[in-house]
Symmetry: C2
Subunit: 277 residues, 2 copies
DNA sequence: GTCTATAGAATGATAGAC
DNA sequence: GTCTATCATTCTATAGAC
């Protein structure tokens, strides 16, 4: 009876029961599941893992598909163990932990490949799930991006405010804010890095409109910093702000990790923008 | 015999010949074509057009598919007539003209929807062709984009050089170049506008590498303009150039046609970047 | 909470008729 | 040079078993 599980590890309970019945053994699908569970073999992953451990360390006689199932299971369980102590007995993720994993993986891929260039499949693979399972955590791809974008800007505003709080010199305050902006977008975690790409990489109008609000708070903050500056009377502060913002986001194109640090870049940028008054 | 063409205008020559043969008339597919051509009815578009003209001005009894064929043909022929004098007798496009139409339509869509967001089908529809026909003119989607990008930057360099030729003041020269940059990207034709999006909207590595060379020439030009400026000794000219480039390309995000002109924007930007020396 | 299985639409590209 | 017809993939999203 367990021979069957070894020969066709990917058969579900229903298929296995049918197979056994046609071989003369009267057993229901739930009966199959009961026995599997007793031997800790109730998922395809576990059945394959058992085979791999017992029979053939080289796994040379497993199909590509079977290897994929194993790999996926390994990734999924690996991630769960990384998260502190919240893993359940059989390796299923705690609810919030899994959501967070998906957000991180998705953010990383969105930054690297763009919104349209990233599929739910890509994201699912990263966290060791099948595509359909992602939809248990997020209702659709768009909401997933919105969640990341929102969180990214929230963190940016918080970090930015914290950085300038202790400083009173307007130019120094602006420089500190710029350093945070660059550091977040270049060296931050995946979620922090998404702030820079929202405007350029999203071509879906409806989605774009959903993102505007997130940006607005940050824009306001920057507007205030620029308003406090001591600039020549004829300088257009709106243009000043937009030029600075463009320069900041353009670093995404040329920034290389080993070279200038975000702090140094901010310093040089402000030097460039500061009229020698 | 022509009744058949009226009843089933979408049947090809082969189908029509078979139909006629089973009705007792011995005729080959090429015979059908010969007669159709004599009556100027050799394409489905022409047959449908004839029906529409003769029978029913409201076209209410045509299927959606038939209306689509008519519309496509109309677009295709409309474009051909717009191009000066090169249209052939039956409305087929001259070779270079058609290529140019495809380039223009594709550029427009790439700018609006991004590279990944634009399908060959979208492009084909714009010029009144079927998707497969686009591949007669361009071997693949990537080559199509590369061709547009190359032409866009070629034009930008030419325009830029022409604009600064007569001017000798370094700051004024830079301002003129900036004005051309903004004007091309905001108010230029579809091909000119593609220059601004290449870096942000393309996430395919291989394609991105094919585009680098196009940008290099222009970058060199800008480098030279910045080198000629009279800047404070401690200013980092590399950062200066990159900041300016970022500010220029960022206009794409906030530029609105009715408000400031590209010339005015360039003027204000340079004012912002020019230390009050 | 994850999986199996699949719907249903869109995509880039090709072969061969005309 | 354009069309017909189609392939093989890929995509987002869902239903229902477990």
């Amino acid at each position: 009876m367990l021979l069957l599980a070894r020969r066709y590890p990917q058969h579900g309970q229903a298929k296995a029961a049918r197979e056994l019945k046609s071989a003369g053994h009267a057993i229901s699908p739930s009966g199959v599941r009961y026995i599997w569970k007793k031997h800790n073999l109730e998922t395809a992953y576990k059945r394959l893992k058992a085979i791999a451990a017992l029979r053939d360390p080289t796994m040379s006689n497993l199909t590509a598909n079977q290897l994929a199932i194993l790999k996926r299971g390994d990734i999924s369980r690996g991630l769960v163990q990384d998260s502190r102590g919240s893993n359940t007995a059989d390796g299923a993720a705690a609810p919030d932990e899994r959501q967070n994993q998906i957000l991180q993986a998705a953010a990383d891929l969105f930054v690297k490949q763009g919104y349209g260039g990233t599929s739910i499949r890509d994201i699912a693979q990263r966290v060791g799930l099948l595509p359909g399972s992602v939809y248990h955590h997020f209702p659709c791809k768009e909401d997933l991006f919105v969640a990341i974008h929102h969180e990214g800007f929230r963190q940016l505003v918080v970090r930015s405010e914290a950085a300038i709080r202790a400083e009173s010199d307007p130019w120094k305050r602006l420089e500190l804010a710029c350093a945070v902006h660059i550091d977040s977008a270049m060296e931050g975690d995946a979620i922090a890095r998404i702030t820079a790409i929202g405007l350029f990489a999203i071509h879906e109008d409806r989605l774009q409109r959903r993102l505007e609000k997130d940006r607005e708070t940050y824009d306001q903050q920057l507007r205030k910093l620029v308003a406090d500056l001591d600039l020549p009377r004829k300088t257009n502060r709106s243009i000043f702000r937009l030029a600075l913002l463009g320069a900041l986001n353009w670093t995404l194109i040329w920034y290389r990790p080993g070279k200038m640090t975000p702090k140094q870049i901010a310093r040089e940028l402000i030097r460039t923008f500061r009229a020698s008054t």
